[in-house]
């Protein structure tokens, strides 16, 4: 009886080890989350004033915003899918 119990314990340990190993690569990703607290404040600008050329405007405000829907997103596929779905419902 001791044999199998031992075995399953070993298996558990192995599983634990494995999950630990699996988690390790994630560790560095956690760091930025902790640092987030720091970057909440609006920084003091290092200079008092600047020219219009140094603002956001010269880079142009076009193409910064777009409509919220996407008609290129293969409407046909959706229509086909929808029809399939309606068939399934038997309607």
């Amino acid at each position: 009886m001791a044999g199998p119990a031992q075995g399953s314990n070993d298996a558990k340990k192995a599983a634990v080890n494995e999950s630990k190993n699996g988690e390790q690569p994630l560790a560095p990703e956690k760091k930025p989350a902790a640092q987030l607290e720091e970057d909440d404040e609006f920084e003091d600008f290092p200079v008092e004033d600047w020219t219009e050329e140094e603002t956001q405007i010269p880079s142009g405000n076009t193409h910064l915003w777009e409509e919220s829907w996407d008609d290129d997103d293969t409407n046909e596929d959706f229509a086909v899918q929808l029809r399939e779905e309606l068939k399934k419902l038997g309607k």
Binding site: L36, D39, D40, E41, F42, E43, D44, F45, V47, E48, D49, W50, E54, T55, Q56, I57, P58, S59, N61, H63, L64, W65, E66, E67, S68, W69, D70, D71, D73, N75, F78, A79, Q81, L82, E85, L86, L89, K91
Partner: protein
């Protein structure tokens, strides 16, 4: 002392606030890391006042009245005392035994310096530009206060708290020094706003916005954001301020950012958008941190006001923006409700912390609108009648409710959540969309049909 004050004389001769503020800095310049040490060593407690007075009075380059000279003596002596405390703390840190005492001593000395500045400016003894030097000094006070509070919180972990009732969150002892500093900033603000000098070129009114910004930063840090409204109200009630556009951009952009966020938190999205857009346009293009903070509020704002989303190019401005908004925006565009809910849940801690969760939650309506719109587009067109051409084609405006139900279920079953969705629930969602003006039409319950407006079923979306 004469040589230690050489850089003060140079700075003073420039007639500018910043060089003098640089002289009165608690941090040694990078290229002269010993400056604070040398300055502290140049005199001693009992001689400092006489030394500074002598050095200022008998300097040939700097001309100032006796009264002004006295004011600067006061200020520089205060500064010397603060530097001495900084050096003491530095030495303690070298022996790794810094404690509350050192922090408190620096804070108190720096507060004395700030108060002395206020006293002499309000006495009219200093040149007009000195108000900006005071701003820099006060900004240092803010940072020192924050550090001191952090140190105090570390050594006395909230034991004192028991005496307070639970609901007074803003008066927790952890922020004692910053709260004290906030009162100092109030005095400076009043000093700027209430200046009666008719000569605008000499007015302290030019300091109004930068001090207001200092107050905003302090109140946000103290989590007493609503106090900022008093500042805004005072400014708006002041009839004789110089035109906003005449202030330096650093003041304007920061002020617009904070007033934008304030309006955002009060759900006045139109006003928030205007302020934030102004801040964005004038922001210094190299200030990545500030640009992404502005966008953090402008993006949710614009989703509500104009139903617009940022382009990939705009999100690429900062990796943080892509991480925060990327998944959500993609789901909105696809009309993917399950994905939207997941992205919202995944980002919840950060959204809540940045106070944008509730606003983003509202944009689920846009994701739903986009899904319903897809159903409408998938329905195709009515057959052409006699004499009609391709141009006259009209989309089918009567759509069985079942189509919408099926579309909504597709998303849900795809996720394998096993969630059931009742027909009535879908009807309710549609009715809400119609009520909110996102969709035009009505539901015919009798025929289980949705009848959409032939001219613009989904206003503003081209169909």
């Amino acid at each position: 002392m004469q040589s230690a004050l050489e850089s003060f004389h140079e700075a003073y001769a420039s007639g500018l606030a910043q060089p003098v503020a640089a002289f009165l800095s608690p941090i040694a310049p990078i290229n002269a890391s010993n400056r604070l040490y040398d300055f502290a060593r140049a005199s001693s407690d009992d001689k400092i006042e006489g030394d500074v007075r002598y050095a200022l009075k008998y300097n040939k380059t700097t001309r100032m009245t006796n009264k002004e000279c006295g004011a600067w003596v006061d200020i520089i002596v205060c500064y010397w005392r603060a530097v001495k405390e900084i050096i003491k703390a530095d030495k303690a840190a070298d022996q790794s035994r810094t404690g509350d005492r050192q922090y408190l001593a620096i804070y108190d000395a720096w507060k004395d310096l700030t108060s002395s500045f206020i006293k002499h400016i309000s006495g009219g003894l200093l040149p007009a530009w000195a108000i900006f030097t005071l701003y820099f000094t006060a900004n240092h006070l803010r940072k020192i206060a924050i550090k001191t509070d952090e140190q105090l919180a570390k050594s006395k972990p909230a034991v004192l708290n028991t005496g307070y009732s639970d609901d007074i969150a803003s008066t927790t002892p952890q922020n004692q020094k910053l709260e004290e500093a906030a009162r100092v900033f109030n005095r400076i603000f009043a000093l700027c706003l209430g200046d009666r000098n008719q000569d605008m070129s000499e007015s302290r009114k030019w300091g109004v916005y930068c001090i207001a910004n200092l107050q905003f930063k302090t109140y946000f840090k103290l989590k007493a954001i609503s106090l900022s409204k008093n500042v805004v109200r005072s400014i708006e009630a002041q009839p004789d301020l110089p035109s906003f556009e005449l202030y330096p951009r650093a003041h304007r952009v920061t002020y617009r950012y904070y007033t934008g966020v304030l309006a955002f938190l009060q759900e006045d999205y139109a006003k928030a958008e205007q302020s934030l857009q102004g801040a964005w346009e004038s922001c210094w293009s190299r200030s990545q941190q500030n640009k992404s903070l502005i966008l953090t509020y402008l993006i949710p704002c614009r989703l509500i006001t104009q139903h617009k989303v940022p382009t990939a190019g705009l999100l690429a401005e900062a990796p943080r923006l892509q991480r925060i908004f990327g998944p959500l925006v993609a789901c909105i565009k696809r009309g993917d409700l399950t994905g939207f809910d997941k992205a919202l849940a995944d980002g919840e801690p950060e959204f809540v912390r940045r106070r944008i969760f509730l606003t983003l939650e509202r944009s689920r309506d846009i994701a739903l609108r986009n899904l319903l719109r897809k159903v409408y587009l998938a329905g195709g067109f009515d057959d052409l009648k006699e004499g009609q051409t391709e141009k006259d084609r009209i989309r089918k405006s009567r759509i069985p409710l079942a189509h919408f139900v099926a579309a909504l279920r597709m998303g849900i079953s795809g996720a394998g959540s096993g969630q059931a969705l009742e027909d009535e629930e879908v009807e309710c969602l549609l009715a809400n969309q119609i009520y909110k003006g996102l969709m035009k039409g009505y539901i015919s319950r009798e025929h289980a049909m949705v009848v959409l407006n032939k001219k613009g079923a989904f206003p503003g979306t081209g169909v």
